[in-house]
């Protein structure tokens, strides 16, 4: 058990360190950064704000991690968020109860995922293209549901999901934390995670060794759709309306970025949901940090690009070979201790 804790710590170290460095840098530029206040039974402060604002990307990153681990990618999550936000707003304004609305909305997200999954698993279309269809058409469908307007609602229950609080934490934070833990336990406490990794490394080999790859692939995209639906509900509840044009716009790219920052390879295989969630927090800390420290927000995208390039360089096969070459004696030692630990 302690070995597994240790290996987790080693795996998550770069992300935790990066997050810590960013937080410290922001707190130097903005002294009140770590201050937390309790007001009306809810915590307030910049840290809580990062957790809260990062909720949609964190949720999307959970599904995206699993999809990327299967050597896929899901470009449609932003559009699915828009569709689900529109569905939620349309249901609640036409008089359905909160529970029915949530069920219909989550079902819609899962259905979108099923569509993507069938295109990828059954029709064998490249994931990037298969999900592009829904990415292009999705916003149009969302517009169709909202009939071109921004559908506003004032159902207290639905709004609570976006801006309520539970145990002192904002609802969105509670939702993504709980959902992340549930999914992580589901894939790591069962063989599911290993099967997904096998599928991502080599689909044919996994199939030949008895993994039902088709079902797993479809399930991965359905999970991603479900995550997008939850994120869509939160985004809609936050602004008390469904904005088909702007809900989840470009969030698919942020979610992919979060997964890449988390160290999961785009080429499929080993994945870590915790690392992706840390990646989402890193991105949100950068966004919030740039705002708080008084940098012009125009630099936001450039800094993001610089970070991606840095991570790409570190992750690239060539840099790894060079690194392994430079630290060969040490690397050999590490593998030895790893083997001993096992």
């Amino acid at each position: 058990m302690s070995a597994s804790v240790k290996s987790h710590a080693v795996r998550l170290f770069p992300q935790v360190a990066a997050l810590a460095v960013i937080l410290v840098m922001v707190s130097i530029a903005f002294p009140g950064f770590f201050r937390l206040e309790m007001q009306n039974g809810r915590l307030y402060g910049s840290l809580i704000d990062i957790l809260n604002r990062g909720a949609p990307v964190a949720l999307l990153a959970i599904g995206m991690t699993v999809v990327i681990a299967t050597k896929g990618i899901d470009l449609s999550v932003g559009a699915v968020m828009a569709i689900c936000g529109a569905v939620a707003a349309a249901c609640i304004t036409s008089g359905y109860g909160l529970v029915a609305t949530l069920i219909v909305t989550l079902g819609t997200g899962i259905l979108c995922g099923l569509w993507n999954g069938i295109l990828v698993a059954v029709l064998d279309i490249q994931p990037i293209i298969a999900t592009l269809v829904l990415m292009v058409a999705g916003r149009g469908i969302a517009q169709l549901i909202t009939e071109g307007a921004i559908l506003t609602f004032n159902d207290a229950g639905l709004i609570f999901i976006g801006s309520g609080s539970f145990l002192g934490l904002p609802m969105p934070v509670v939702i993504w934390l709980v959902f992340g833990i549930v999914v992580a336990l589901l894939v790591r406490r069962t063989a599911l995670g290993m099967l997904i990794e096998a599928l991502g490394v080599n689909r044919r080999a996994a199939m030949l060794s008895g993994v039902s790859t088709g079902v797993l692939l479809i399930a991965a995209y359905m999970l991603s759709g479900l995550c997008a639906a939850i994120a869509g509900i939160i985004a809609a509840a936050d602004i008390r309306g469904a904005d088909a044009n702007n809900a989840g716009l470009w969030l698919e790219l942020d979610a992919i970025l979060a997964v890449v920052v988390g160290g999961t390879s785009l080429l499929g295989g080993r994945f870590s949901i915790a690392a992706s969630l840390l990646g989402a927090l890193i991105i949100q800390s950068i966004n919030t940090g740039i705002l708080l420290s008084g940098f012009p927000p125009e630099f936001n995208l450039i800094i993001k690009a610089a970070i991606i390039v840095m991570i790409l360089v570190i992750q690239s096969p060539r840099a790894r070979t060079a690194f392994a070459f430079l630290s060969r004696p040490k690397a050999a030692e590490e593998t030895k201790t790893e083997q001993e630990a096992k």
Binding site: V136, G148, L266, F299, P317
Partner: protein, 322 residues
């Protein structure tokens, strides 16, 4: 018939049928004016899509072009506002910057062996960010030379006009067809799309070709940015968001295989025209909402992907039994 031509034939057939349906409903659509406007309105998209065709033919993808177009527009507007430089010199500068930018992305893709998707995503953030840094406001371009360029057109019988930018798009497509089918670079691009390992064994210079492809895409995105700034007479850093998706859709609808190695630059032109036709039809109709464009394009994408899948399936079986 050679199955290679089937997607292209299907695209052309769909375009002709769709146009016939449009004419049956609105006879006015059969005028040179509509055709001229179709070319002018889609000029910037078409030029960028030629670059995207080469990228996709090589098995890659370029997500940065929308951001590069916006960057070029802002770059030109700021340059013309702040200095007294002649627009032609500014055009050359802009093209140099975007070509170098594309080449840099190609170099990163090749030398760091990273997926084009994530490298060009970083490029998209960078180009959009640079545009924001230059200016977050929309800057009008009032240089008299712009008015001169906009006034240039070739008058068609029936009152239609082929404007400078519409004609430029047709020229770029002609050049793209020549490069793809009549030069060594073009052959290398097809070889690369067929499989990197095979291409390497055939003696294709992988690195040079990859860098060349993305440099070409950057150059054409820059040219497209110039055309877009002529079209709108302004530079705005939030313009042309998502153009890369429209370009990818046009390439796919034009019958180019997304796995690379098979397709035609000419098909992309038809793909652009189909998208333009859908928009024109919606404008003519007046009662349909513009979001139907997105849904129809998504549907067309889906149909063409299915068509391609079926095609690969059929040719594979033929090869197996041959």
């Amino acid at each position: 018939m050679n199955p290679r031509y089937l997607p292209l034939t299907a695209t052309v057939a769909i375009f002709l049928i769709a146009y016939a349906v449009c004419i049956a409903q609105y006879p006015n659509m059969l005028s040179t004016r509509v055709i001229g406007n179709l070319l002018t309105d889609n000029a910037f998209l078409g030029i960028a899509a030629v670059g995207m065709t080469f990228v996709i033919l090589s098995g890659g993808i370029d997500l940065s072009i929308g951001a590069v177009i916006a960057f070029t527009g802002v770059f030109l507007a700021v340059l013309l506002q702040a200095t007294s430089i002649h627009p032609l010199a500014a055009f050359v500068l802009a093209l140099l910057v975007t070509t170098a930018f594309g080449a840099l992305m190609g170099a990163i893709i090749h030398h760091l062996e990273m997926p084009p998707f994530i490298v060009t995503l970083a490029g998209m953030f960078l180009a959009r960010g640079m545009a924001f840094v230059l200016s977050i406001e929309s800057i009008p371009i009032k240089h008299p030379f712009y008015a001169t360029l906009k006034g240039l057109y070739y008058k068609l019988p029936g009152g239609g006009r082929i404007t400078l930018i519409g004609g430029l798009m047709l020229l770029v497509f002609a050049a793209g067809i020549l490069i793809a089918h009549r030069t060594r670079f073009g052959a290398n691009v097809y070889a690369l799309g067929g499989g990197v390992a095979t291409a390497r064994l055939m003696g294709v210079p992988i690195g040079g070709t990859t860098i060349g492809i993305y440099a070409l895409s950057g150059f054409l995105a820059g040219l497209s940015g110039i055309v877009f700034s002529l079209y709108t007479s302004a530079g705005y850093s939030l313009a042309t968001v998502g153009v890369e998706l429209d370009a990818i859709a046009a390439v796919v609808i034009g019958g180019t295989l997304l796995t690379g190695g098979s397709g035609f630059v000419a098909g992309t032109l038809v793909g652009i025209l189909i998208q333009g036709l859908i928009q024109t039809y919606i404008t003519f109709d007046g009662s349909l909402s513009s979001w139907w464009t997105k849904i129809l394009i998504g549907l067309l994408l889906f149909i063409f992907i299915l068509l391609q899948k079926g095609l690969i399936h059929v040719t594979d079986r033929k090869r197996r039994y041959a």
